[in-house]
């Protein structure tokens, strides 16, 4: 089996991601729906009484809300699409980077081909995400198969320990748990 075929068979279980989010101590999820994470992640979160879902109208609101919550050490995860990330760059620049706030973003890469690196995507918007994060000095991890889920809790823990932003890039549609 070649690498491409192996990658095609890879899966991403939304239930595992949800468990990792909760294990990281996240209490609030702030979100504008993203079709990448809609079925496998956002719907289960909406049903989960252990998490408070705040549905926002526009993604940059999440940056302010998460910052406000952080003053009480309340952990929040921002669940958005990469288009919303791009739309929120000024808020991220100021609050997350310049003010060094623990802003944790889970960003769906709509249209991304999971077998490729995001920087090699056929989608311009996807290709530029990691370079933008690098230019802003924001740590990021790619989550595109179950083995990557182990990166989530340490990334969130580190963001809050160091009061710094992090982006978790969702490179494949998470499968809803049965």
């Amino acid at each position: 089996m070649d690498a491409a075929t192996e990658q095609t068979k890879a899966e991403l279980n939304g239930g595992l991601i949800l468990a990792a989010i909760k294990a990281a101590g996240v209490e609030f999820v702030l979100s504008v729906p993203d079709i990448v994470t809609s079925a496998g992640l956002l719907r289960p979160i909406a049903r989960d009484s252990a998490l408070r879902l705040i549905r926002v109208c526009k993604e940059d609101e999440c940056i302010g809300i998460a910052s406000g919550l952080s003053y009480y050490d309340k952990r929040a995860l921002i669940l958005i699409q990469y288009t919303g990330f791009l739309d929120s760059l000024n808020a991220i620049r100021a609050v997350a980077v310049e003010y060094k706030q623990p802003i944790c973003m889970m960003v769906g890469l709509l249209g991304h081909e999971p077998e490729r690196a995001p920087t090699q995507s056929g989608r311009f918007g996807v290709r530029i995400i990691e370079p933008i994060l690098d230019a802003m000095g924001i740590a990021h991890d790619l989550i595109r198969e179950d083995a990557d889920v182990a990166k989530i809790k340490p990334a969130i823990d580190k963001a809050y320990a160091q009061s710094a932003p992090v982006a978790l890039l969702i490179g494949r549609r998470p499968r809803p748990s049965q």
């Binding site: 109208c57 302010g64 003053y71 620049r93």
Partner: protein
């Protein structure tokens, strides 16, 4: 209450408001931050909103994080126009401990006093339509003085428009307003 003349002065409104403020977190942006800060340093002042329009969103986070902590937002009209969706988000989240003021002078005062697209826009009406629990619209200082104590004790989210004149030119000392030490002090105060 309507927005008919006479208008108020923002700094006068804030002096009245300050007489009622004890341990509330006060979030203020741009010109409101300058005027509020003039009234004296408070650890529970929060000016680091970062991007124009985000004051109300920071306020929502600070209100949700500790429902027993009262949070006041002193927004500007140009700022709120950049984050009108936050009215709907706040109304849906329904924090009882959040009071959201907007100082409406019809201008982007910190950016050259150019007019906002519609200086007569009805913010209190929009907040009411969005679902805020209580809304108010003040243009008379005597009425504001008489009612502010009641406004601050209502279950939120509460919204109040303060129809104010353009102020004299202000000095915007952003490095001081946004100093990292202020954020650290606030966090320490809220932890204690």
């Amino acid at each position: 209450m309507t927005g008919a003349a006479p208008m108020m002065k923002r700094d006068e409104c804030f002096r009245v408001l300050a007489r009622h403020v004890t341990d509330e977190i006060v979030i203020a942006s741009y010109s409101s931050a300058v005027d509020w800060n003039e009234l004296g340093a408070r650890v529970r002042n929060y000016f680091s909103v970062g991007a124009m329009g985000l004051a109300s969103s920071h306020g929502l986070g600070l209100a949700l994080g500790r429902p027993t902590q009262r949070v006041l937002v002193l927004d500007g009209d140009g700022s709120l126009l950049m984050n009108l969706g936050s009215l709907v988000t706040i109304a849906a989240a329904a924090p009882k401990n959040l009071v959201h003021f907007v100082c409406q002078n019809g201008t982007y005062e910190a950016n050259g006093s150019h007019p906002i697209p519609n200086p007569e826009v009805d913010f209190a009406g929009m907040a009411r339509a969005a679902g805020y629990a209580q809304t108010h619209d003040f243009s008379d200082l005597a009425a504001f003085t008489q009612q502010i104590g009641h406004v601050l004790t209502q279950d939120g989210p509460v919204f109040a428009t303060l129809r104010v004149e353009r102020s004299a030119p202000l000095t915007y000392d952003y490095p001081t307003l946004y100093a990292a030490e202020k954020r650290k002090a606030l966090k320490a105060a809220l932890a204690s």
